[in-house]
Amino acid sequence: MPLLQLSPQGLYCAVGDFFIDPWGPVNKALITHAHSDHARGGSQHYMCQDLTKPILQLRLGKIAVDSLPYGKPVWHNGVKISFHPAGHVLGSAQIRLEYQGETWVVSGDYKTAADGLSTPFEPVACQHFITESTFGLPIYQWAPQAEVFSQMRNWALAQQSKDRIPVFEAYGLGKAQRILPAFAQAQIPIYLHPRIWHTHQAFLEAGVDLPTVLPLTAAHAKAFLPEAVVIAPPGSSLQAYLPKNKTVSTAMCSGWMTVNAQRKQQDKDAGFALSDHADWPGLLSAVKATGAENIYVTHGFQTIFTRYLNEQGWRAQELKTAFQGDAATEEESA
């Protein structure tokens, strides 16, 4: 029997009697990262990377949770468990399992290029690798972060010169922290929407060094700094927080902004292709670096990516999980 299996509750390790990113309440849950499609409430006990812990507590309330630094192993019913950097968001991890010489790595969500904030992705050698494939199409090839940041800055300045307030829509966990330096390095003040303020504070309390930001509050509306940008979660309402006489220009920061038709569908003023997931070359290099004999593809374009891997001589199969097609939560991290 393989060490990891797909059960109705998600990926299950029978020997260790625990789940990884289960999609329902279980006894013991190992969590790759705190995005809502991976971290769900109701379980008896959680285990995650140190920096994921405060966010998990923020999002799931009072829970029993243990945390580990990257690379430090623990044993559970004889199964060796360790967390390794996934480079997706702060605290995100790949989970490695080892038992009687059998090794598995569950990637969770990951990206291979460093973002300057989360600990960069480290390939972990294994026999069985479960990879995501959110952007598993060859049209997805990310531009260097510095290039996107400078485009974002230029757009923001152009909006300000037309007397509009630039608003960047970014997912609350990950993107909202990642893009801060784009503005902070140029001394552009940043307002954070209340819905992402708490995540920001939790990271500060956990000792993460983040640029200085201002809270977006109704009280600020009157004294709004004209040279500032606003960062807000997608689709959030801003009316209460901004000066009445000003127009807003909204930009979306997401890997989904790559394709023109999808950019248009969002109906924003601008779109920047900036993703916390691996692009096509990133996925391929990650698969290669693990040296795994068996590849399981989940979370995205699994059919296409699996077919391609098999044609290229890998032994790959699709892993159909509840992640897919769940539009509401899928949006969280793209």
Partner: protein, 545 residues
């Protein structure tokens, strides 16, 4: 280093990025202010829809992309399926160069030492080349292109390039840049020219007396009637005419040349050769204001007929026979080279009537002045407008001069009530700009037996409070999601008004409406009492083309 190609791509990108006409105009003007001289005429040609021939088929392009990237065709097809635009797909598939992928050079920096004219000249030269040569060109093009450059390049190469900007907007942008009138710009661009034979300066900045000769007078426009008829005073002081449903135009003959202008300051002489031909019969130094309209068997035809002719330069014989037009003259603005606009209307009318009698031409007709002794007679006439194929009435004061623009008081239009039908809301989509959070764009349907068939889209006509109410309904009753479109449970009934109806095989319902809009929300009407497709076809029979 030549930058013209990169600048042109930048222009294309900026034009895509904004929906504001003003910003588009600024982009166009900024481009022409700094583009290399030789590029400007080519850019103008592309604006005017003069595209180079396509270099290769989409299939060839996909195949070569496969060879270049080493990706299998099925994967390219999947990517194309997902993206929906071949030119864009291939631009995205070409490996992006970045310092993080060291064996490739850096991406967004252009390495192409080209102007637009160089790019187009290469295409021109390649048009007779072998497939192998075309492929070799594309491989080197891909090596040196940013994604947007590749995207625009692919569009031009596959013959699908559209810049998506109205020509009038380009004329206005050039006019402000060169400090000339938009009409002048239109005129200069309208003639025979080619980037191969004309420079930008030849084309646009020569000061020609010939151009002034063709200039139209500014059109004088009517105000919508917002008074009661009695308030207008004595009926005898007013001239009434049908408000024709065609295209307002000015017919000019000066120096034995004919120039026909539309109200949008667009030169349309080439579109209506039968009106240009009048030049042989009418005297010189003449300017007429009137309506260009399709006309057959002594009857004006609905606007849908004229629509087949609008925008068609050099129409075919068949089109000319099937959709013949006439010029229904309203007014005479110049006679024997003399500007008559300051004369009172009744004097101009006398001259116009005399002219039309002296020159009985089948393509020139006098728009009749309608006799009425009392305001009540005029009301009767108004109710007959639709039967006369008119949109309503126009009232002009007998003493009025031919002014400029739109002034209130002496020229009024009195439109008929629109046609209307009760329809069911079936699809909703979010609006733009200020309304981007609300579902404000609706598609409506009528009953066809047990089924609902969509027949019109409408965006306007509801109050903000009503929009909020409909929005909440859509959010609570959405059934399916196709991109930004939501299918809703059929329940809400609206009265849809429109100005005209025509048969159409492009629409499922078999009809196309002119200016559809929401007249009111029929909260009083149950779903079952919405109109039927048969009702719509009845309207088509009565009023349609």
């Amino acid at each position: 280093m030549k930058k013209g190609w990169a600048q042109y791509v930048q222009l294309w990108q900026s034009l895509q990025a904004t929906s504001s006409t003003l910003e588009k105009k600024e982009c166009v003007a900024a481009y022409f202010a700094q583009a290399p001289a030789a590029d400007k005429t080519w850019a103008l040609a592309l604006f005017c829809g003069r595209k180079p021939k396509k270099l290769c088929s989409s299939k060839e392009l996909l195949q070569w992309c496969g060879e270049y990237t080493g990706l299998p065709q099925w994967l390219l097809e999947e990517a194309y399926q997902f993206t929906g635009d071949l030119a864009e797909t291939i631009a995205l598939l070409i490996p992006r160069k970045s310092p993080e992928r060291p064996n490739q050079a850096f991406g967004s920096v252009t390495e192409q030492d080209w102007d637009l004219v160089d790019f187009l000249n290469q295409l021109l030269a390649l048009s007779i080349a072998t497939a192998e040569d075309k492929k070799a060109f594309l491989f080197s093009f891909w090596q040196s292109s940013s994604r947007t450059q590749a995207w625009v390049g692919h569009k031009i190469i596959t013959g699908g390039f559209r810049i998506g900007v109205a020509q009038t907007l380009v004329q206005q942008a050039l006019a402000s840049l060169l400090q000339q009138s938009p009409a002048d710009m239109a005129l200069r661009l309208a003639g025979q020219w080619s980037p191969l034979t004309h420079s930008f300066d030849d084309l646009l900045s020569g000061s020609g007396a010939a151009q002034d000769q063709s200039k139209p007078y500014p059109f004088y426009l009517c105000h919508a009637l917002d008074l009661s008829l009695a308030e207008l005073g004595e009926p005898a002081q007013w001239q009434a005419e049908w408000k024709w449903d065609g295209m307002r135009g000015q017919w000019i003959k000066r120096m034995n040349q004919c120039h026909l202008w539309s109200r949008g300051e667009e030169l349309v002489t080439e579109n209506f050769p039968e009106l240009a031909a009048l030049v042989a019969d009418l005297p010189d130094g003449l300017v007429l204001d009137g309506e260009i309209i399709c006309y057959q068997n002594n009857q004006p035809l609905p606007f849908a007929h004229l629509q087949k002719r609008i925008g068609k330069k050099k129409p075919s014989k068949k089109l000319l026979q099937e959709y013949p037009v006439v010029f229904l003259a309203y007014d005479i603005l110049e006679w024997q080279g003399q500007d008559l606009r300051a004369q009172p209307l009744h004097e101009r009318r006398e001259k116009l009537t005399a002219l039309c009698h002296r020159f009985p031409l089948s393509q020139l007709k006098l728009s009749p002045s309608l006799a009425f002794a009392q305001w009540s007679h005029l009301e009767t006439l108004h109710s007959q407008a639709r039967a006369a194929q008119a949109e309503g009435l126009v009232l002009k004061h007998q003493d009025s001069v031919y002014g400029t623009g739109r002034k209130k008081g002496d020229w009024w239009k009195w439109k008929t009530a629109p046609l209307h039908i009760d329809a069911v809301l079936l699809y909703a989509q979010k609006g733009h700009g200020r309304r981007s959070n609300w579902y404000t764009d609706y598609t409506f349907a009528v009953w066809d037996g047990e089924k609902l068939v969509t027949f019109a889209k409408a965006y306007s006509g509801l109050t903000d409070a009503e929009i909020k109410e409909v929005d909440a309904f859509v959010k609570a009753n959405a059934k399916e999601k196709f991109g930004p479109v939501r299918t809703v449970v059929p329940q809400l009934v609206f009265e849809i008004g429109f100005e005209g109806i025509a048969a159409s095989n492009r629409h499922k319902s078999g009809v196309a409406l002119r200016f559809p809009r929401i007249l009111r929300w029929r909260k009083d009407k149950p779903l079952s009492e919405a109109n039927t497709l048969a009702d719509l076809h009845q309207l088509l029979k009565q009023y349609g083309a």
